[in-house]
Amino acid sequence: MTLAASVVGASGFAGGELLRLLSAHPEFEVVQATSREYENHTVGSVHPNLRELDLRFTDPTDLDSVDALFTATPHGVSMENVQSYLAAADTLVDLSADFRLGSEAAYDEWYDGHSAPAYLDSATYALPELGRDGLEDADIVASGGCNATATMLALKPLVDAGLLTPEDQIVADLKVGSSEGGAGGGAASSHPERSGVVRPYAPTGHRHEAEIEEQLGLSLSFTVHAVDMVRGAAATCHTFPTGGDGGIETPDLWGAYRDAYEDEPFVRLVAGGSGVYRYPEPKSVAGTNLAEVGFAADGERVVAFAAIDNVMKGAAGQAVHAANIAFGLEETAGLDQQGLHPVGSP
């Protein structure tokens, strides 16, 4: 079986990664890759890693019929075009925030409302580690936000084990790479200004809080820092769980994290141990769909860590993973990229 797939927003960072994954995927075949700016140019002229791909960008308003349409466009574009996207495809896999929240009210609160609220019910949130329900045969698959993904993967085992309750204090302190800003960028993302930074860019009130609240039932405080890497998001979640009976010890945590993830193909537990790499690190998973997840106990505090490649597990990889499930394919199909060692700042 070969499934036809197109990518809208294919000249962007998440869109380019979708092309990388889909073009090497055993079950998908790329039909169209859209870009308004680079229409008619080869895909390789924008994404040098794809120079061998014999494919040119096309106009996003002229979509062929496909099995799966992946949209990696800025917030607002896919809600605006959802009708025509669904007309062209059996399944829409959207990487933006446009279908992540469950209700119009949530979009009113966290964003500037929603222009196609009728479609929200057809959408299924797509981080498979949180549950596969509804993904098979979904009309709209809403791929999760990168920072929310890292944070939720770090926290979910504590919730599942009943250690962390909705009342507990949680601070999520994130460190992210420059590719999160997309290919557009602005003055702040020029190399001279963005190099070497530890820069609080969303000190408070990050929109990813909304997703996390809906998915895990937790409310938390978010602070995001830009650091000097291109790919990667690392979440350090400082939690003060009250759900256990008494102090939480390391073996309890191992139990909770194993219970949550032992059958997950894309989660790797890293917590303590020896050598140079003792906790989750983005550079160990760069280019892969893996999430490294770990923890450290500190009296009443449990620090939960997760590290992902924001363009992969945080975007294109997660979307392909969800699409694999939606189409009943092997979950890991096309997602067996290995990490590198040594590796600099990927």
Partner: protein, 56 residues
Amino acid sequence: MSEADCVTCGDSVTLPGDVEIGEIVDCGSCGTELEVVGVEPAELDEAPDLAEDWGE
């Protein structure tokens, strides 16, 4: 090849065939460095950690 439990995470550690008392292995699951303190049956204890000094 014998097995013993990791003292940190409880996972079972398969020891290399010719391992001797006093040798260090790491847990394949949590990475803790473990000292072989017994063979037949194999027994493991936490190895003295070479704490890294970050010198600030």
